[in-house]
Symmetry: C2
Subunit: 460 residues, 2 copies
């Protein structure tokens, strides 16, 4: 049936063809159902996390991951598998130690935030001044902060949509710059996370223009609560902090690209992906080997079923964790190509529960067809505007149509950016539900006979 | 009522007095119910873990913990609060690092087991030979082990009674000696635990007589599973291991003692307690600040209600984790005193679900009365032989009557001997259920009008 349709004149294809659409949906449904027992995605996650492990941006391990990815994507049968490199500045972790010196001597568990400044090798010692929120720090008198080690807490809790990461994550993203501007000698924050383990959550932060870098770390959540209890005793609290990260200069990173060639070069490209780099302490299983597995498995399932109308391009981006150098390099090099749709997977491997679609008014029927196919997987249709994630958001903001397949984030921030991001946190059953949803979506979008238009200011 | 009874002649008291027993049970019931909202135990756990933190045996921190305990127990109104010191050899942790060198370079998380030998400062490099169980290692040919780094896994799972710790814990207790005897250069085991976090479980092991100490560590469970996956790929696996612990010689440790004085010196002593030392990486909240809080809170509740017939002696033992020096010192010094009953709390702070009692046949009615009072707390009567724990077991084995109030161990081995043993793992509601059960038990046992006899070979 699909071969006959591909031979029909374009004018006819542009007109509504309920029977053909029905058939395309039926094919998508078959692919979806087959994908519910997918093992390709888990195999990718298992392989990359076992055979490479941690793969921080700009490192030799990230380069090994790219080589691994090229071998794997070629073995899966993708076309045009290649690496696109770029250069970037690299920051690496050093020694990390924290302890309460007085009044109750004890060790605390700390890790440096991205781009943290360094203490002397023997550490710095200072009085701790605590704040329950970023707002409290922002409102603080400079005199209360100058020369001290700032501690900032927050009230982040686990949510299904993961939205508290954006909201409370400001403590990590803005806190260090605010503390430095007020003259703090260092800052430690309560980890941006939702667990209760002695594993600190690192993460990217960039210094505001003109701000002097200071040592900036995250305490584990039990350690942050311990420090709060100690501070509440009302006595002066002295901490020794050792963080010796270094900027090691410009290194090479890269994006890995693979394609499923479409039959109609004029129909535009469907661009999907996740990121291949990870933080340095875990093996990056949920962040984001899962996204690599999900997107590649879905694309392969489309490829193996029949040549789609549109080329599906899978990009495994480098350097997402440290600010998105891979995303920027890719957009700069490819922005003039006809990319008509983007979707990213970068929130772990737990089940998709909601779809947010952003299409031009003329293309809303595509979203309707996708939604109908996702419903039996327990996925509802949301009314949010898709972001298309950290790596592909730039395309959505430029007006490219997008779908966010929202993953359940209830436990994602228990492990996110910690040593605990390891394979055992990936549930194969939930991972294959992701592949089923992505396969259905890709099947509809890549084969849609309508032209897929830009979205007029839908994603400003 | 109790004053009148106390004035009655001993002969009369020895005869069955159903009405009086009923009244004693009624008092125990009132104390039990009041204790369900206990806050004393949590206050002790919070205070010790916050104001001292980790308190490894023989350390300055353990000494600070003893001082803290003396202040606390005096403030609670106990009598005869004092420290009994003893000397012991002390082993301290050094640097700890592990990495796969080939075929898939990556870091692993390791911690040294107690009494581990040391690697050179730069570590040792060796081929890894893996075994799925201690039995497999024991059966292995020396030629397969000699000069290699032995890795031993096991299949421990979480159980309510915690019994798999004894069974699978042999991997930790015996594995190092077996590996050394076969000429291994070092051993790393899968942590004896039931979690899935990148936090290794340390723990005591002693070298068999004549065995040369070798470096002995525990990988976290995710790291052990990673190593197993790597080994299963069938290529030679090389590991670099750095463990630099030291024996630092003889140091002082001690037991902290407090009493509730009884009215009848001839009726014997009720001896209860837990241990004040902890492993060095957590703050020892569940192991065993919880046991200190539970036993002291229950004793204080008896003390505040009325003078009991028997003296209740609370001992917070030192050095339990490293082999029981405190227990041995205490037994050696006090074995000739008339201790008639022992009970220990050292399995965390989760609820008690079962009581195992060991009394002489003539005293079975005491167990019956305790059991009747525990039933409304959701505690069943088991048919096991009480061990009385690591610190007081020596008394039970010598024939002293004992009760084990079995705590729910379902999650205990998720945190046990890891940095994750912190205050947030203690559930105040479950902790107060413990106090209620202990209060009821102590009220019955300390006030029982019967003589409490030795148990003839019931606890061999």
């Amino acid at each position: 049936m699909k071969r006959i349709l591909a031979a029909l004149p374009l004018l006819l294809l542009a007109a509504p063809l309920p029977a053909a659409a029905q058939s395309a949906s039926a094919q998508a449904e078959r692919l979806r159902d087959a994908a519910t027992s997918d093992e390709i995605a888990y195999d990718i996650v298992e392989g990359l996390t076992t055979e490479v492990g941690a793969r921080p941006a700009g490192s030799e391990a990230e380069a090994r991951a790219r080589s691994w990815a090229v071998r794997k994507l070629k073995a899966l049968g993708f076309s045009n598998v290649h690496i696109e490199t770029y250069d970037m500045p690299v920051w690496v972790r050093g020694h990390e130690q924290a302890e309460i010196v007085a009044p109750f001597p004890q060790k605390l568990v700390v890790t440096a935030l991205g781009n943290s400044g360094a203490t002397p090798p023997e550490g710095l010692v200072g009085e701790v001044v605590g704040f329950d929120s970023l707002a409290d720090l922002e409102a603080a008198d400079e005199a209360a902060v100058r020369g001290k080690i700032v501690f900032v807490s927050h009230d982040m809790t686990a949510t299904q949509d993961g939205s508290q990461y954006g909201y409370f994550g400001r403590v990590r993203r803005q806190g260090p710059s605010v503390a430095s501007r007020k003259g703090a000698s260092a800052i430690v924050i309560r980890s941006i996370g939702t667990d209760s383990h002695r594993l600190a959550h690192t993460g990217h932060q960039a210094w505001d223009a003109g701000v002097t870098p200071i040592p900036a770390g995250a305490l584990t959540i039990p350690d942050a609560e311990q420090l709060q209890r100690i501070l509440r005793r009302g006595r002066a609290v002295t901490m020794r902090l050792v963080l010796t990260p270094r900027n090691v200069g410009i290194r090479q990173s890269g994006n890995v690209v693979a394609e499923v060639k479409g039959s109609d070069a004029d129909a535009g490209i469907v661009l999907i992906g996740g990121h291949i780099d990870s933080w340095d302490q875990g093996t990056g299983a949920i962040d984001d080997a899962a996204g690599l597995g999900i997107t590649a498995a879905a694309a392969k399932r489309i490829m193996d079923a029949a040549r789609p109308r549109r080329t599906i391009r899978v990009v495994w981006f480098g350097a997402e964790e440290v600010g998105g150098d891979g995303s920027r390099a890719y957009f700069a090099a490819h922005r003039h190509e006809k990319v008509v749709f983007v979707a990213e997977s970068d929130s772990g491997g737990d089940r998709i529960w909601k779809m947010d679609a952003g299409f031009a008014p003329a293309n809303v029927d595509i979203a309707d067809r996708v939604a109908a196919l996702l419903s039996p997987l327990g996925i509802s249709r949301g009314n949010g505007r898709p972001s298309a994630g950290a790596d592909l958001g730039v395309w959505a903001r430029a007006g490219v149509a997008a779908i966010d397949l929202q993953q359940d984030s209830s436990r994602y921030f228990d492990y996110h950016h910690t040593p605990d991001d390891t394979l055992d946190k990936v549930d194969p059953k939930q991972l294959s539900q992701n592949v089923a949803a992505w396969t259905a979506m890709l099947s509809i979008v890549a084969n849609a006979r309508e032209e897929i238009d830009k979205v007029p200011s839908a994603n400003p």
